[in-house]
Amino acid sequence: MESGVSWSGHERNVAWLQAGAGRFVDVSAITGLDQVEDGRVALRCDWDGDGDLDLWLRFRSGSTLRYMENRADPDRHVAFEPGRPGASVMVETSFGEESTSTLLQTRTSDGYLAGVRPRAVLALRPGEEVLGAEGLAERRLQVVARPAERKAPEAGSLPAHELPGRVVLRTALPLPPGRLRELGFRPGRPQLVVVADPECEVCAGVLPSAIDAIVEDGRIALTRLNTRNKADGPAVRWASTTAAHILGPGAELDTPLSLLIGPGGRLQTILVGALEWDGMSQDLEWFALEPVQGALRASFDPPGASRWFHGMARSSAPLAQELLEAGFDSEAAFYSK
């Protein structure tokens, strides 16, 4: 899996229709419900109010949420909405000479990780009539006719969005004093370490203007490392191995590679690829220059309105220990404190 191979991956969702006599027929492909992404959750609800059950599907891979509008549109359906979960009703219907007792029940969850409305529906076949609700106390059900059609939203799935190559560490990682000295770090001022290859297109084309903006802003100290410069070799290796370890298997490391170190000497953010001044200044204000925000765990969300329930950051000791054990730094005395 670490090499990118799947574990029971590329498996399509499956859908079956009842074919009568307790038998079902696979209709996954012809209904378009056979998405190949890693499915997790199916939630049924009458989202558009036309009496049939639409589906919200949750996935691990690809677009992680999909809405599938049901086009079956029954002429009439029974809606049972007693306002609370755990209520039951037995619906008696007639269809030709056949009479049927169907048990409807309301609940709050279904399948896996799907929270559902405490509402049950039963589509009525053409000619099927409701005789009544028998046997149980709950009688709050209605026969609902199909509403007038409303304009349907545009069809299609969400476009895949590219993410910036930016990882904000949830816990800022303290760097060894020796390493900070080598990088020319001065306490009290955030520092950006930029590793660039003079032959890479981004380094030559886009990076200079971003660096100009940083220099002009003046709040960040800048250290530039050249992959072709022998003297920079140890620092380049440290930067790339540290980033690779933190980002984990499968991470796409490339130049330019930049590390944002906070004023206290802690690694805050890793940026892969072209520097984006907007994101950089956000990180600067959010983590590096504001100590209270900096103590909070990081996220992909602008600061302010979102929040953590479980509060302050955990200790960074396990991550530091992990790096140490992996041989990425040798100042054991620093980390063992």
Binding site: S6, S8, L17, I30, W56, T64
Partner: protein, 560 residues
């Protein structure tokens, strides 16, 4: 392709021994058997797709059973399945055999025909194959699909006589044992995610990225994004008659509340109303917890279930929480009035200690060393852990993923079905707020790799039936179904391990017990499935099934 065929064919169950030529048993024997016939299989698939000559010997005989149309006629989808008895034809008509395998003459004229061997078993003299066919004017929108099971006898040489090893395999006979066809006259589902979510660019950006990408960019040692266990909940939060959607997100991404607008689009208002938690969130609910007519929010944030009451201004205020006894996170949450006092209590299923791989289930087929589940009694908004007192700690920690309340015995109180990975599920029957596990006596233990469950009176006979999502793993079946598998274990233990990769279960209430009707109903193979649910997909009044599937898809095409 040949390698995939070999893999598929190796995923077989050994058939009963034949006197003259026992089927292969050990994995290497199976592989050699398949390898020797791989060219024939390739020719067979090409012929079925209309791209090659028929790989049959002269005078090869075929048998195809008759069909019976579905009792549900007239909808947007037409269904036909083979009948239990009777033959459509016997004879030597090769085009007739192709029609039968592909789904009748209706498939003719469709430009794109795709045939896949989805399962195969070596049997004396040949194979039993399960074929899956999809056909349409374009591969993206098939209008026809068929599944058939066929037994084939293979011999060497065109004449059907045993001959030298250099001669090619040909088929001497083919017997279709079962088939089903489905075709659509109209589109049953249309995806409208783009139109519904797209206008909210920020929500679309957060949801349009797979969890693998997020996992690389969020500093989350628990890998909450990578495994993708984040739920969704529907409810009408603003009382406008239109349902809205609460979307759980992994650690570092804000939860979202997608409120449906009059034009059918949504707008994420989670930050405005106080629901945009950044903690890893798994199960979520939108329900009226305090009986004031407004929907409240319940979120499983790590090991704490947080209840947020919606105030009159539409903001969600933290009103209470239930704290698990340790930091093992809560996965599925559900609510019911278990003690009959008029308010809703909360159940949380818990799976592993803190991280996915921290706890090893022991024994694999019946593990009881996982974290305990939790039941929080609602005492006027204060949530008290009553798991032990309610009898829900019985049987140890079972690696639970979801609990589903249902009054299946119609005695007026909610009972609880708990789905457990690595072992037996539990059916806790409620008696005045005290639960007792009666899964064995009702026949619903369904020992396996359980992920989720759905209740419905799908057959409309007046009682509730159960569909349990389990794992179906070709790799697991390939290994565990060999006769030589785990000789140090008892036959009973081997049978229990085999169930771990068996697939989904349809448990039908018949009298006082539930009977497993999965095979006859044809709903076993849901692949590596998670949250399958009953849903009346074609609005004919009878619930159908949808089963989300797939575990971890990597960027490379290979699979373990």
């Amino acid at each position: 392709m040949i390698a995939r065929l070999i893999l598929a064919l190796a995923a077989c169950t050994a058939a009963a021994a034949a006197p003259q030529a026992p089927p292969p048993d050990l994995p290497e024997e199976v592989e050699a058997f398949v390898e020797a016939r791989a060219d024939w299989l390739g020719s067979f698939k090409a012929w079925a797709e209309g791209r090659g000559e028929p790989p049959f010997g002269e005078g090869a005989g075929f048998r195809v059973p008759a069909g019976e149309p579905s009792s549900r006629e007239g909808g947007p989808v037409r269904l036909v399945r083979s009948a239990g008895s009777g033959a459509a034809f016997r004879g030597t008509d090769i085009p007739g055999l192709r029609d039968a395998l592909l789904g009748g003459q209706g498939v003719r004229g469709l430009a794109q025909v795709k045939v896949k061997v989805v399962a195969a078993a070596p049997v004396p003299g040949g194979f039993e194959l399960q074929l899956r066919v999809e056909a349409g004017s374009s591969p993206q929108a098939p209008v026809w699909q068929a599944v058939s099971r066929v037994s084939l006898t293979l011999v060497r040489g065109a004449g059907g006589e045993p001959a030298g090893a250099e001669e090619e395999w040909v088929c001497a006979s083919a017997s279709v044992t079962a088939w089903e066809w489905a075709s659509r006259a109209e589109e049953l589902f249309t995806e409208r995610t783009l139109g519904v979510i797209g206008p909210d660019e920020r929500a679309a950006r957060l949801l349009g990225v797979g969890m693998d990408r997020w996992a690389q960019r969020l500093d989350d040692p628990s890998l909450s994004a990578w495994f993708g266990h984040q739920g969704i909940a529907a409810g009408d939060v603003n009382g406008d008659g239109r349902p809205d959607l609460l979307v759980a997100m992994p650690s570092g991404l804000p939860n979202m509340l997608l409120v449906q607008q009059p034009d059918g689009t949504v707008r994420d208002v989670a930050r405005e109303v106080g629901l945009a938690w950044l903690d890893d969130t798994k199960g979520v609910l939108l329900i009226d917890m305090d009986g004031d007519g407004r929907q409240d929010a319940v979120s499983a944030l790590g090991h704490v279930i947080v209840v947020q009451r919606q105030d009159e201004r539409g903001r969600f205020q933290v009103a209470g929480w239930g704290v698990s006894p340790d930091e093992a996170p809560v996965y599925g949450v559900s609510a019911a009035d278990v003690d009959g006092d008029g308010d809703l209590d909360l159940f949380g299923a818990r799976y592993v200690s803190t991280r996915y791989a921290d706890t090893l289930p022991v024994p694999l087929e019946d593990a009881r060393n996982g974290p305990s589940n939790v039941l929080f009694r609602n005492d006027r908004g204060r949530f008290v852990d009553v798991t032990e007192a309610a009898g829900l700690r019985a049987g140890g920690g079972r690696f639970s993923l979801q609990g589903s309340f249902s009054d299946f015995d119609l005695d007026g109180d909610p009972d609880l079905y708990v789905v457990n990975d690595f072992g037996r599920n539990q059916l806790f029957v409620n008696d005045g707020g005290r639960f007792a596990d009666e899964a064995a006596s009702f026949g619903v233990e369904d020992q396996g790799a359980g992920m989720g469950a759905s209740w419905s009176d799908f057959d409309r006979d007046g009682d509730l039936d159960l569909y349990v999502t389990n794992m179906y793993s070709s790799a697991g079946r390939r290994v565990a179904f060999q006769d030589g598998f785990a000789p140090e274990r008892t036959e009973e233990e081997r049978a229990e391990i085999r169930r771990l990769s068996l697939g989904n279960s349809l448990l039908v209430r018949e009298g006082t017990r539930f009977i497993d009707r999965s095979e006859g109903a044809g709903v076993r193979m849901g692949r590596w499935a998670w949250g399958a649910v009953f849903a009346d997909l074609d609005a004919d009044g009878f619930d159908d099934l949808i089963s989300p599937s797939g575990f971890l898809t990597g960027p490379k095409p290979g699979d373990l």
